[in-house]
Assembly symmetry: C2
């Protein structure tokens, strides 16, 4: 039985042994103990992200990882292609806009996945695109984009860098970083990694490093070269969120031991289970099921129902915290996160609470 | 007896009750519980920093707070005055350089404090200076600048914004933000706040907001307007380092209860105690004592002694982690942090270890 009923798509609830680890004493982040931990974490993160490229840990939330992807590889005036399927896709484009990129925007409807043919057309119409921004898993809509196919179409039609927001997918859904040709993957600790918020993680390919050398975006805290130089002496450039690093270190070891295929299967099964239960109580899933997320399920509410009220009532009466809709979807959907160690019992109690509340109101 | 002998100037060792708090379960950062916590923390932080201005919590290390100060108030080409007395002063200038400011640099010798007459001259020679960057407490040299007097001289000779790196001083040494006319104070959780790393804190004056409106530095994660807008609904713009926030919440309550004068006195006394013990074993303090820091003491080593070796030997034989010298001072000094709950016993054992190691080598 969990001591929390947090079912939002992150921060995820943490098991007792993780919580215990979080209370570890501080250590010198410029000493050998940290260097050894960082070294192991770096290797394990490469395993999880299936990459031989550099990977770094940044003390920031996932958005900081996304900003790192852009400021280290682009310059003001660079044409970038933003492929958005929801709120976090829009955020990725906003970051590029903020740094002066000329952002060509493709926006799909909330609930839709990105159509590769439309991406192909955009790339062919804009041969000068330097980077493509793409959300792997859009947690605002519960859609997982067909990332492998999208990367293929980009590779076949362009030399652009591929920058991926994998904040809510990495460690729960497969990302074969090198095989798919992804230049930067950005993710965050409070999702499928079963750790508290506080650390963003990024991979950085050789091609990304070549782009770095030409990049004129101003940067300091997110300057990847600082991370690269300090990594050589086993240190972070800036004082890291140690508590998050301790737990992430443990999670990474456990993930590599469990095996990524097993982990991805587990997420896939709990996602299917969630969708099946939702359909059993007569509700529809927002996206087409083939593109439904393995880490968060978006459930459509009947038209006359106020979703914000449902979330409030479920929390008040069942002590279960569901996710509501964001932006265009506010009040219209319920989102249930099932990353990390969420199991069938957790999902069952959430769906029962949802059904009873819908029946009552 | 502490379970750790961390004597570096941050991260500080944490008491058991703080460690216990760190293992608290995750909560919804967009729910009422977080909103209530953020509200109380915001009010208490204003009390500690002695300001009625806005204050914000940012998931980043202290350098992220310093970067926030610059990117939200300046534009590329703006002339800024950097007053550096050590490594962290240089970092503040590097950030301004990275964002395209025209940085007029005054650099004092490592170990010296900033002379107000030199600052006055620089301001009069450069009437177009838009912002002054100043380190309150230079943890690389154990010097505390006469910040009140520096602010006075700036106010009397310029309309420039005053941006203060108070990473290693705030909560340990007095900063009367409003009375001294400081526009942005940047600090970080792992110092005198007795919390783990992970959260930077910034104050932001009305004058800083006026500068914000004209600022053309690109920004997204550090865009203060996002923090302002989300604060209105009791939320952070991005998922915060919850573990750090929990402990910082507790620390802030305790600090306000203990009273800031008592806390500053406590830091002042332990600093004096540290200097006295160091002198008792025949060592000199790096700075002139009137400008010695209340949070970290820099002790000069005899000329023929390798400071890096001393730090290693003390850790190996006494399990006490001292700070070494940084940059120009590498190998030449020992730094002892005495922020937060460090007491006389902790300092005594450190100085004994230092003396015995010096005698032996």
């Amino acid at each position: 039985m969990k001591d929390t009923n947090l079912r939002i798509p992150g921060p995820v609830p943490l098991p007792q042994e993780t919580l215990d680890l979080m209370s570890s004493q501080m250590i010198n982040h410029r000493g050998q103990e940290y260097a050894d931990m960082l070294d192991q974490m770096t290797n394990n993160l490469k395993t999880v992200l299936m990459t031989k490229s550099d990977v770094y840990f940044i003390t920031a939330s996932g958005t900081g990882g996304m900003e790192s992807a852009i400021v280290n590889t682009t310059s003001p005036g660079d044409k970038v292609l933003s492929i958005s399927i929801g709120w976090f896709g829009e955020r990725f484009a906003e970051i590029a806009d903020a740094y002066g990129c000329e952002t060509v925007k493709i926006s799909f409807e909330y609930g839709d996945y990105a159509d590769t043919q439309i991406i192909k057309t955009a790339l062919n119409e804009n041969p000068d695109i330097k980077a493509v921004l793409i959300t792997h898993n859009e947690s605002s809509t519960g859609v997982r984009n067909p990332l492998k196919e999208i990367c293929e179409i980009i590779k076949n039609n362009s030399d652009a860098l591929i920058l991926v927001d994998a904040v809510s997918s990495a460690a729960g859904s497969i990302i074969s970083t090198d095989a798919w040709g992804i230049d930067v993957v950005a993710t965050a600790s409070q999702k499928s990694w079963i750790a508290p918020p506080g650390i963003a993680m990024v991979s950085f390919s050789d091609k990304a490093w070549k782009a770095y050398d030409k990049s004129k975006c101003p940067k300091y805290y997110y300057d990847m070269n600082q991370y690269r130089e300090y990594a050589e002496i086993g240190q972070p450039p800036f004082t890291p969120s140690l508590t998050t690093m301790y737990t992430l270190h443990d999670s990474l070891k456990k993930m590599v031991n469990e095996g990524m295929e097993t982990i991805f299967d587990r997420h896939s099964r709990i996602a299917q289970f969630t969708r099946d239960l939702a359909k059993n109580i007569g509700l529809d899933i927002l996206p087409v099921e083939a593109y439904a997320s393995d880490t968060v399920t978006a459930i459509k509410l009947p038209e006359n129902v106020d979703g914000k009220m449902i979330v409030k009532e479920v929390e008040k009466n069942y002590n279960i915290v569901l996710g509501g809709g964001q932006q265009k979807l506010a009040g219209k959907i319920i989102r249930i996160g099932h990353m990390g160690w969420i199991n069938q019992e957790d999902i069952e109690s959430s769906i029962v609470a949802l059904k009873e509340t819908l029946d009552r109101l």
